[in-house]
């Protein structure tokens, strides 16, 4: 199973009330200090409802504060250079997404104004051609997803639920027991 693009979203219960200008400023400071990507521009979409709020556009990935479905969080979308197995690509996407979230979590400009709820995350396979929103896709990736979530949540229980609207991309909402910060989740992956 190959897919060309994967999104990983980690929800937040604090940060939505921040002025979009704050996100713009923070992302703008990231551009000269890229972490294994070419960061290009910041786009403000705070005027649309239930969609992206602020996006840091990169060459390899996009980094977005996102309010799709009215659920606020940070979304990392890996859009280029996925070349491994699905399991590898899933892990690298989530790892990079968590690294970026951890960077936000400790960004002094945000001054503790954000809080991630790493126990609630979402994975989107952003490639309708190769990974359509079907039972077959779910079956094909199930073992890889389950194995990775077990590592991510240190063996704890994590439930997944797939969006059923066939028009939507293959989307898994993930909910684990406990509370997890981005850095804890990164540690879990590496331990």
């Amino acid at each position: 199973m190959e897919t060309k693009s994967i999104s990983f979203k980690i929800y937040m219960d604090k940060g939505q009330e921040l002025d979009p200008e704050v996100w713009f400023r923070v992302f703008n400071t990231w551009i000269p200090q890229p972490d294994d990507d070419i960061l290009v521009d910041v786009a403000d979409y705070s005027h649309v409802k239930n969609g992206p709020v602020t996006i840091l556009v990169g060459h390899k990935a996009n980094y977005a504060l996102d309010n799709t479905d009215g659920r606020f969080g940070f979304q990392y979308t890996r859009k280029r250079d996925l070349q491994g197995s699905f399991a590898d690509d899933l892990e690298s996407t989530i790892r990079e997404g968590l690294k970026a979230a951890a960077r936000l979590d400790t960004d002094p400009a945000l001054d503790g104004g954000v809080h991630f709820t790493g126990e609630r995350t979402q994975v989107v396979l952003n490639d309708r051609l190769n990974t359509p929103n079907t039972d077959d896709t779910e079956e094909n990736i199930k073992a890889d997803v389950d194995a990775f979530l077990s590592r991510l949540y240190a063996g704890g229980s994590a439930k997944t639920q797939r969006k059923q609207d066939a028009r939507q991309r293959f989307t898994l909402d993930i909910e684990a027991e406990g509370t997890f910060s981005p850095s804890q989740l990164l540690e879990n992956i590496d331990s």
Partner: protein, 743 residues
Amino acid sequence: MSKTWKEELGDRITNELGEEIDIYETQMELKRQDKITNEIFGETRLRRGVYGQRYDNGQRFDGVRTQELAYQEGLTKGVNTVWDAPGMQRIKIPFGGVTANQLEVLADLAEEYSDNILHITTRQDIQLHYVHIEDTPALMRRLAASGITTREACGNSIRNVTACPLSGVCQTESFDVTPYAHALTQFLLGHPDCQDFGRKFKIAFSGCHHEACGLVAMHDFGCVAVLRDGKRGFETYVGGGLGAVPHQAKLYDEFLAEEDLLPTAQAIARVFARLGEKNNRARARVKFLVAKLGIEEFKRLIEEERKIMPEDPAWTAYLDDLTVTNEEPLVDASALNGQARPEGYGEWADTNVYKQRQDGYCVVTVALPLGDATSDQFRALADIARAHVKDTIRTTVEQNIVLRWVSESDLPEVYTALAEAGLGDPGAGTIVDVTACPGTDTCKLGIASSRGLAAELRTRLAAQSHELDAAIKHFRIKISGCFNSCGQHHVSDLGFYGISRKVGEYQVPHFQVILGGQWTENAGAYGLAIGAVPSKRIPDVVTRVTEAYLEQRQGDESFQAYVGRVGKAKVKEMLDDLTAVPAHDEDASYYTDWGDTREFTTGDMGKGECAGEIVPLIEVEMQGSEREAFEAQIHLDAGEYEEAYRKAFDAMLHAAKALVKTQYLDIPEDADQIVAEFRTRFFDTQLFWDNFAGGKFANYLFRHYEEKPNSHDRDTAHQIIEEAQLFIENAHACYGRMNVVNA
């Protein structure tokens, strides 16, 4: 091995469109192998709607300095355009007509290749931003499978054919122009006679004269539906256009019979391709050809061309079935009687619902902030359309979407569904519904943040919408990020276009304030700039001008009439205190733009001690030239065209002299010497050249210096004032660049 969309879609794409995309994909490969030039590939991709975007030269100013973006070196997709840099994909939507299925395809594409946002343009197109060129063939195939082509969406070609979004349901139209817009689109798409233009060519259709409709007066070729003795035809116009120097289109024919529409358009294309300017792109639009030849000679050439053109059955074949674009309602018409009205419905219905001429049906306008919608919102619109109206959906030049054929009794349900999707904003077609081009957000040519300003104005005005006086509620505000007018600032009540001004050692974002434009009557009049105001004070300009109008208007006096009566000088005077810019250490907020936290720049900044001593002198001179340009407007308003012409020319001369003085302090007050010195020092050296426009602005001065008009009229005076304004703006920009060079 992953699948490809080419394999997946197979015969769902017509052969013609499939071959087009195959050719494009081959050209991409040739470019990767460096077997075709940047110039050729650049035009190739533009003709398929694949457009450049800001920072695609691999550089970005981060607020402190310009940073190199570390793209892979070598591969480019155009002159100074990095292959890997994200770009914009423009998607043509002829006459704005789009189906529910197409909305869903567009939604998918925005998610998979763009940033989850679909942007409606001021010419009924849809744009996706931050698209990688490697994704464009797949994107085009998916569009093609849904019946959409991006062919000739950009480049020197026939652009999207636009039409009034109410065509067919309008209460005041002569007849439905949709099948004609459709036929002309199909006929001219890829037509051999349309492949050798010096610039783009824009066509619009309107059903009637007095509404804004298709904005015919600002198009290269515009058609207004007319019935004569029961026979269908068009009042046609040529040579209109906005851009840096706007031209009102000239009447070509009071009644062009329907069977003559296609051959006449073809003849115009042939003459434009043959005689239009090719080398100087700044003067390569049809408007310049019409102005050069005169409308009578232009018309004679078209008529001669028609005589020698080989007959083409396609000219009239479409007339056999004008029902091809007909629409049917999904739901029987029924009145809105006792249904419950959801909260917010009344305010929304007041501004967003238009009664069709067909009893019991309405057009609903979905107001999109800044023309943007998310993929989920597009899917929600598709669902609403399927539930209530079938495929009767159109985009608008005010960056909105309309749903036609909504039964009146369905309106509350439609409103509720829209509101649930975050699309229930009221205020369509009002002062809140601000139009803006992409500006500095994504456009390479943007000077100031048109979208940032539009968002700010929209937020402020929406908060006041309940209190707004009816007299100003339907004002149009339109904003462009630069003088190129993509935001259509010339045809609004309050228009703004982005510029920069030097204050001390800093650049400060400003907007020129445009008054006197007219949206109705198919963009019936163009406004003129009355002065530059710092970007951060533009909301105050809106407040002050609208309040003054409400206080001082006489009876039902229109805003245009009010401005004409009190005079632009008076209006300018009321804004004078808003033009002041505090020092940077006093208030740094003036030195950033709306929606952007970086310190404002139009390029790398430098602090020049060498030029320092000259700064006060040149600034005085520049102000003098601006004053003269403004005085020219006053003469124009007074009908003193010769004096207006002279003042505008003096203003250009004054700005040229100001620049010359930076190198030749003792330049005499002699026009011959000023022009000669300016040519040698600033034109020949290209110091005065604009990155986009080249030497265009300098040529304004040279042309008027060399060729004085034999007679003076309003058009001539209006044009030179526009040109003088642009010349002065470029003098400011040139001065800014000189300081950097000297630093």
